[in-house]
């Protein structure tokens, strides 16, 4: 196996995507809304259809804008339904994304059946291809470095998400754990919730566009859940989830280009392997976590019994 410069870029882009998703993902996990990414991945369909109907083209920008708008709407509708309809958030999400997806199907069948408009074709990128799409070239210690477009766009998303979380850390923290307390100390928990959901929607759609769906859905949930097993502090959880995300990106790409070789196949898809690596890390942490891990709990219970 030969490690080429673009392998480094694939890992960097995977890691950026992982961090961009893991940060808001922590709040999703705490609020029991982990499947938001999956919901948005289905709900974008009407956005694509409307973007197409309005502009008549399948180029990236109208598709992206349509998807982003519907992504934010998914979050808003979910909140409405769970608040006013007295159903839990999981069910509300289910109602919203299936309805939106169905609406998208209707729009496509009615208006543009002659056009190939599925998200896999017009919206989702592939992390493997990102290094070929170069936006900027510069020289660094004598070698030419080509910066892919996805690295820049995901870098911006990571930066925005971290800034927002840093600036509003106290507000996010309080409104996630105790919305009523947050309201009494003067934080509008509803506004914080919409802000967070908008962040999730934009992060998700931007990452879909850059690297495809499966890795985004995985990175919103898995690193945050794994970090949740390791700590009780929100700040530590955010940091750990980012680290776990970066590790899964690196391990995932390495796995994608080495593991299939052991079985006599050629390299497999990187984004799938990154999601698998995240699952693998989660399993490790679930078993070995010092506080909430399977083993730790078993031993603690044993210790308790002996002490008695």
């Amino acid at each position: 196996m030969i490690w080429l410069p673009f392998d480094t870029w694939i890992v960097i882009i995977g890691a950026l995507c992982a961090v961009a998703c893991a940060l808001p993902g922590c709040f999703l996990v705490l609020r029991k809304m982990s499947m938001m990414g999956d919901a948005i991945s289905h709900a974008v369909l009407p956005g694509l259809a409307i973007g197409f109907l309005l502009t008549g083209s399948r180029s990236s920008l109208p598709m992206f804008i349509g998807a982003a708008v519907v992504g934010v709407l998914t979050a808003i509708f979910t909140q409405w339904i769970s608040r006013f309809g007295r159903v839990d958030r999981g069910a509300a999400m289910g109602i919203v994304f299936t309805s939106l997806f169905a609406l998208g199907l209707l729009l496509i069948v009615q208006a543009s059946d002659q056009v190939d408009l599925d998200p896999g074709c017009v919206l989702y990128g592939a992390v493997e291809l990102t290094p070929l799409d170069v936006i900027h070239t510069f020289h660094f210690v004598g070698s030419e470095i080509e910066v892919p477009r996805a690295a820049v766009s995901l870098g911006v998303v990571v930066l925005l998400n971290s800034l927002l979380i840093l600036l509003l850390f106290k507000e996010f923290n309080l409104s996630s754990f105790d919305p009523s307390l947050a309201t009494t100390v003067g934080i509008n928990a509803t506004v914080m919730h919409y802000l967070l959901m908008a962040m999730v929607a934009i992060t998700t759609v931007a990452s879909f566009e850059a690297v495809g769906s499966i890795i985004v859905i995985a990175m919103l949930v898995v690193p945050a859940s794994a970090a949740y097993l390791l700590t009780d502090r929100l700040s530590v959880m955010l940091g750990l989830s980012a680290v776990i995300g970066i590790l899964s990106a690196g391990l995932g790409h390495l796995g994608a280009i080495t593991v299939p070789l052991w079985f006599g196949f050629e390299s497999t898809t990187t984004s799938g392997m990154m999601a698998c690596a995240a699952g693998f890390l989660f399993a490790l942490i679930w078993v070995f976590s010092p506080r909430y891990g399977l083993l730790a709990r078993k031993f603690r219970r044993k210790g308790k019994v002996e002490n008695e």
Binding site: L105, S112, C121, A126, V141, T270
Partner: protein, 320 residues
């Protein structure tokens, strides 16, 4: 740390130089996305280029997920040919951007687009990418490849156009064969029912009425009413067979057969057609000519026409 990076860069450059040297026996490397285009490039470039296709047999190019190996292939390619018209989905956009970086990249069907009204479209200017289904269309594609290779390697331009002309002659024979066998089908049975709309060019070129069960998009689904209308149409015209495709799930086609049976009209599955991908590499069906030969022979025989079981060149393998 810096030094370490530098060393890695130098090392990887040396390695890629080695890799390049290994490919040096043939003077350059040409890459095509789908097999149908790779086949043309192979015929035209002859001994001068090492040709590699990216999307394999039985794979729907609309949904193809590239792997790292493909990126290696694309970044080592000296010249790239792809279909275009959104056949390759977002990979097409990436290839356009690769093309802006001084690498010759040709969208084969989009070049044909300029030739006035050949490429099929609906009212809203959305083009149908499945040009290869009409052999005359693919004869035009050969011109694009000949021009592309000659611009890249002008030294051998005469060789390429000779190869191109020879291949086009073979394709003309294929076209004549297709015309003849499809024309042998009784006129009211010249109806081709398949899973998705990949055969419009074939229909136009050879006079078949083409009915797709689901639309162009793989996300859209067949409505109950669409299936009803289609079943009525089949029994009215007494159409003996419908067809499945190698790269598309056959669920809808089977539903159609069951539905027709319930109405008392027996329709059989006429065979598997190659729509978006060719057969296994190394076999006759794994070439463009074999693919089309297989398709038209299968269609003609199933719909009541006469065609030799072995196809145009008696190379078809009808074991299945």
């Amino acid at each position: 740390m810096l030094k370490c990076w530098k060393r890695i860069v130098v090392f990887s450059m040396a390695l890629s130089a080695l890799v390049l040297q290994a490919a040096e026996q043939k003077s350059y490397k040409a890459v095509a996305t789908v097999g149908m285009i790779a086949d043309i490039v192979r015929e035209v470039a002859g001994e001068h280029a090492e040709v590699e296709g990216i999307i394999g047999e039985g794979v729907d190019p609309h949904l193809y997920k590239p792997t790292r190996k493909d990126v290696v292939t694309l970044s080592q390619a000296d010249i790239i040919f792809y279909n275009g018209l959104m056949l390759e989905g977002k990979m097409g956009y990436v290839l356009v951007r690769v093309g802006r970086k001084n690498k010759p990249v040709y969208a084969v069907t989009e070049e044909i687009l300029d030739q006035g009204g050949y490429v099929m479209t609906d009212e809203a200017e959305h083009y149908d990418p499945h040009v290869w289904m009409d052999v005359q269309g693919w004869i035009r594609a050969v011109d694009v490849v000949v021009r592309g290779l000659s611009e890249f390697d002008p030294e051998h331009a005469a060789y390429y156009s000779a190869n191109g002309a020879a291949y086009q002659k073979e394709l003309e024979e294929l076209d004549a064969y297709a015309q003849a066998v499809i024309a042998s089908i009784p006129e009211n049975q010249r109806v081709l029912v398949t899973a998705h709309d990949a055969f419009n060019y074939l229909g136009r070129a050879y006079g078949l009425n083409v009915q797709g069960i689901q639309g162009l998009s793989t996300e859209s689904e067949a409505g109950v009413q669409d299936i009803e209308t289609l079943i009525n149409f089949l029994s009215e015209r007494n159409i003996p067979a419908v067809f499945v495709e190698t790269s598309v799930a056959d669920k809808n086609v089977r539903a159609l057969v069951e539905g027709a049976k319930a109405k008392g009209h027996t329709v059989k599955i006429g065979g598997e057609l190659y729509s978006d991908a060719m057969g296994v590499p190394g076999t006759y069906e794994g070439t463009y000519i074999g693919m089309i030969d297989h398709n038209v022979t299968t269609i003609a025989r199933a719909l009541g026409g006469t065609a030799p079981a072995g196809g145009m060149q008696d190379k078809l393998n009808h074991a299945h």
